[in-house]
């Protein structure tokens, strides 16, 4: 009975493949049959799957694109017994070979993927999508072909080049063609030289990799051209590396600024050594997490708005906790900096453990909205969107805070109280409330920083600890009581750190920076921008 079944299946397969061969247009001499490709795809061995993908792309089967897409998304299933291949679409199953519906097929398991298989899929999809109607798809395809450096795609590439209208895509295709030409051993010297200059014009690290690989080329002229190309690209990249470092420095500086700016109020303006500052940042990050959780459960469409919604909430949460701390603990300790330090340190431990008890010790997932993910290219400089937004956000927070202190009645009272408490009190300002709200403002700003930091760091109870030392460093270096000092200090430290890191390594770089700050504080104990006048004595 069982043998009958097997025979039947074998017969069916044979009939099917005959029919398939009859249907497909007369295959070219080197073109493999799609069935050979499908048979290898339906396998547990990565080697077979990889070979199957290449065969499928070369076979010219019209269903190849759909099958490869399904495979890339892990939706391609197979049955080991009879090598049936199926594509899963939601709950529906279709036969990968024919596209016919397959109701109730069982015993299927997914075709497995690993990096080798994924690379093969990328290359195969590249060669299949070169003629796609959408320019974006063609560009991705050309990039994939460039990376694959497969000489077999050359005819397809030539055909695509002839029809290409988009200049950018055309250039990528030419670069892909150059890469493939250089990879094939039989290319004449003239064409190789042309390919080298195309790659030199591309000028990125991948072009560099290919040109470096030409150092053993049989033709002297090609070797020389490649060597010249390598030097040219290296000079350009060294220059770009400096620009890149400067950008990384600004980006790190903006993170330092965000972390420190709340402290510039509580420590800088009010003179409270606030060790619980980092925990305010953490509370802001956890507020972001809660907002995202609520949005995920109730209104997934609003996810892109989760960060703008979280900003005011984080400000309120951290600000309220700050006011509470000031009213309950800190106000009893004004004028006693050591006790304040110990008390706020204790508060920071309490807050950490409280969050750990409520949310658990492990990291919480805070997602990045689409505008925060990915990178874009600016004159060969790769800039990540997330970092760019954080730089913009840090500057916006800085300006807003300046505006509050300089242009509002509350800011005026705050400055009056810090400059001369008794005089301010005599003028009818309720100094205790100004103290509480100023501390609340500093804490709230720290909470807002937490929203931004949740995008680049772990949201865990320890989040704040990583920033507290750096924050104090920035405020002290910039000059206590001076917001502009904080800005300059944060950017200086960020840029200096990033220029030191490639040469000295991350660990030594940080040490060097600390040594520099210690020496600087020896020379100028009041920081970069020291306050002058009566405030200094207060």
């Amino acid at each position: 009975m069982r043998r009958c079944l097997v025979l039947l299946i074998a017969a069916c397969c044979a009939a099917w493949s005959l029919a398939a061969a009859a249907q497909s247009p007369p295959a070219g001499a080197g073109q493999p049959s799609p069935e050979a490709a499908y048979a290898r795809l339906a396998s547990d061995s990565y080697g077979d799957i990889e070979a199957g993908i290449a065969l499928l792309a070369a076979s010219g089967d019209p269903r190849a694109g759909a099958v490869l897409r399904a495979l890339a998304d892990n939706r391609l299933l197979f049955r080991p017994d009879d090598r049936l291949l199926a594509i899963r679409d939601g709950a529906a199953l279709t036969d990968a070979r024919t596209g016919a519906a397959l109701p109730g097929a069982d015993g299927l398991k997914p075709v497995r993927l690993n990096n080798r298989v994924r690379r093969a899929i990328d290359a195969a999809q590249g060669s299949l999508n070169l003629l796609a109607p959408d320019a974006g798809t063609r560009r991705v395809a050309a990039d994939a072909v460039f990376k694959a450096r497969d000489t077999a795609v050359l005819p397809a590439l030539d055909a695509a080049l002839a029809r290409e209208s988009d200049a950018g895509v055309k250039r990528t295709m030419q670069e892909a063609r150059a890469a493939a030409l250089l990879a094939s051993p039989g290319t004449p010297e003239g064409e190789r030289l042309g390919a080298v200059s195309v790659l030199q014009a591309r000028g990125d690290s991948e072009a560099l990799a290919i040109l470096r690989g030409l150092s053993a080329d049989p033709a002297a002229s090609v070797r020389d051209a490649a060597a010249r190309g390598v030097t040219g690209i290296e000079t350009r990249m060294a220059l770009m590396a400096n620009v890149q470092n400067a950008w990384y420095g600004v980006s790190l500086g903006s993170v330092l600024l965000l972390a420190a700016i709340g402290l510039a109020i509580t420590f800088g303006v009010m003179g409270i050594i606030n060790m619980a500052h980092g925990e305010m940042v953490m509370l802001g990050a956890y507020t972001t997490y809660l907002v995202q959780e609520l949005i995920r459960q109730n209104a997934p469409a609003l996810f892109g708005w989760s960060l703008p919604i979280a900003i005011p909430l984080a400000f309120l949460v951290a600000g309220a906790v700050g006011i509470l701390i000031e009213r309950v603990v800190i106000r009893h300790l004004y004028g006693r900096p050591l006790e304040t330090l110990l008390a706020t340190w204790g508060i920071s431990l309490i807050l950490q453990q409280a969050v750990r008890s409520v949310f658990g010790p492990s990291n919480r997932e805070v997602g990045a909205p689409s505008y925060m993910a990915g990178a874009f290219d600016l004159f060969g400089l790769s800039i990540t969107w997330g970092r760019l937004w954080i730089v913009v956000f840090a500057l916006a927070v800085f300006l807003a805070l300046n505006l509050i202190l300089k242009a509002t009645s509350f800011g005026l009272k705050t400055r009056a109280v810090t400059q001369n408490r008794r005089m301010a009190s005599a003028m009818g300002i309720r100094t205790p409330w100004i103290d509480a709200f100023t501390f609340g403002l500093g804490s709230g700003i720290a909470g807002v920083a937490g929203v931004a930091l949740s995008q680049i760091d772990n949201v865990s109870p320890n989040l704040g600890q990583g920033y507290i030392i750096d924050s104090f460093l920035v405020v002290v270096f910039g000059g206590v009581g001076n917001l502009w000092g904080t800005l300059v200090a944060a950017l200086t430290l960020g840029v200096a750190n990033k220029f030191l890191e490639p040469y000295a390594g991350a660990v030594l770089g940080k040490i060097l920076l600390l040594v520099f700050i210690i020496l600087f504080i020896q020379k100028r104990p009041r920081g970069l921008f020291a306050l002058k006048g009566r405030a200094v004595e207060a």
């Binding site: 470092n245 790769s382 772990n458 109870p461």
Partner: protein
């Protein structure tokens, strides 16, 4: 008056009953239980990893008690919290052994904490089961290492990359402390012995909690553009991993271009992050939650029932505790006593089925045999096993790759020595 009198009387009765009950309970427990110490941080930075291990130990002890305990006595867990504070680990260990009289301790995560409790275990002669993968170069009479030694994790991972991914250029990226430094030293020696040129190896260290990876990722990108297939071997610790992978994804480095194989990233660490950008990156462990065996399925179900949370993940150090605890139970029953000297003597040679379908054995060097798996990160935070070793690998206490430890051998059965020098024929190191 009457009311007050009644009230006083009833209160007195309740108090008396309570006191009696407590007395009875203490007396019973003093007679009938065997105490097991659990020394994992429940607060502070390491709580993120160690809390789970405390829970799994409570589950294992609970399970054993349902089966009737050990030597006819119930087991009693004594949980202390060393709060991620290394000196406190030693203090709490002393408290467990001297005051609570525990028969064995299961605990520690970081190497620093292990080194900090070592003198206590030696002085008071007790037993420690250490469940985490570590840098090796150690074998102590009182410690049983159920996590992976470097030859059970790092070396097979590098072999896989060389064979399957044809990697020729290596970035060894680590956090700056003892485990990455020693592991990278071993890997560097191993790679050079395999013919990798020094200029094809780049070793870098970053501080704990590094969150700004822009420069490092850019450097890896340019190191990888030399025309040879490049991979990153990551011994980055704990929280620094998430920003690292995020930066890789943001700068467009995919696993198909430059794969990263990590030794400290498991299911627990992935639970808190969006794993889409990590797709295809690798991890090397001796256990993955996704491994489909009946034993593993039963273990996961038991874990979900015990924690009343069907989403809790299982990971490699949890399996190490599972193996270690069951080996301890077997050794105690074989020795017929909880006396440390006899249990230490009974442990080598003890066999225990692991959760992935093999049988692990405690070796004379106090390490165990384990299978090695390479898993690729999937988008659901689990791993897909893409490769595994043919059989179980025996843990080396002393690395065969390093000059200082090549000639050392640990054998507590025949030689009764943790660092016997095979050249000088003496116990006591190089």
């Amino acid at each position: 008056m009457n009311m007050t009198w009644k009230g006083w009387l009833s209160r007195a009765t309740v108090a008396g009953g309570l006191a009696l009950g407590t007395l009875a309970a203490t007396a019973a427990s003093a007679q009938e239980t065997i105490k097991v110490g659990i020394l994992h941080s429940l607060s502070g930075t390491m709580a993120i990893s160690e809390t789970t291990l405390k829970d799994v130990m409570l589950m294992l002890i609970d399970e054993q008690n349902k089966k009737g305990g050990v030597l006819g006595k119930k087991l009693e867990a004594v949980v202390v919290d060393p709060a991620s504070n290394w000196p406190l680990f030693a203090e709490k260990a002393r408290e467990l052994i001297a005051k609570d009289k525990v028969s064995a301790v299961f605990g520690c995560w970081t190497s620093v904490s292990r080194k900090s409790v070592l003198p206590v275990f030696k002085e008071l002669n007790s037993i420690l089961f250490y469940p985490v993968q570590y840098e090796g170069e150690e074998s102590e009479r009182n410690v049983f290492y159920t996590g992976a030694a470097p030859n059970q994790q790092a070396i097979p991972a590098v072999d896989y990359l060389m064979k399957e991914e044809k990697v020729q250029r290596w970035v060894l990226e680590g956090t700056d402390y003892v485990y990455p430094r020693t592991t990278n030293k071993i890997l560097e020696a191993y790679l050079k012995a395999k013919g990798v040129k020094p200029e094809d190896i780049s070793i870098n260290y970053t501080p704990f909690g590094q969150s700004d990876w822009q420069t490092r990722v850019a450097a890896i990108k340019s190191f990888g553009s030399a025309g040879k297939k490049t991979a990153v071997v990551s011994t980055i610790n704990g929280d620094a991993n998430v920003p690292f992978y995020k930066e890789l994804a943001n700068q467009g480095l995919k696993a198909t271009d430059i794969p990263v194989v990590a030794f400290s990233v498991g299911e627990e660490e992935l639970a808190g992050i969006d794993t889409k950008p990590l797709l295809g990156h690798l991890a090397a462990w001796n256990y993955f939650m996704s491994i489909d065996t009946p034993a593993n399925k039963a273990f996961i179900k038991q874990w979900h029932d015990f924690t009343k949370n069907p989403k809790r993940v299982t990971n490699d150090p949890m399996e190490a505790h599972y193996i270690g605890f069951n080996m301890w139970v077997k050794a105690v029953e074989k020795a017929g006593t909880i006396e440390p000297d006899k249990v230490i003597a009974a442990l080598p040679g003890t066999k225990q089925d692991n959760l992935t379908g093999g049988t692990s054995e405690m070796l004379a060097n106090h390490h165990i045999t384990k299978p090695v798996f390479i898993g690729e990160i999937k988008d659901n935070g689990q791993f897909d096993v893409v490769w595994k070793t043919d059989g179980l690998i025996a843990g080396d206490a002393w690395s065969k790759e390093l000059d200082g430890s090549k000639d050392l051998e640990a054998d507590w059965v025949k030689l009764n020595c943790g660092n016997y020098n095979t050249k000088t024929k003496k116990c006591g190191g190089a």
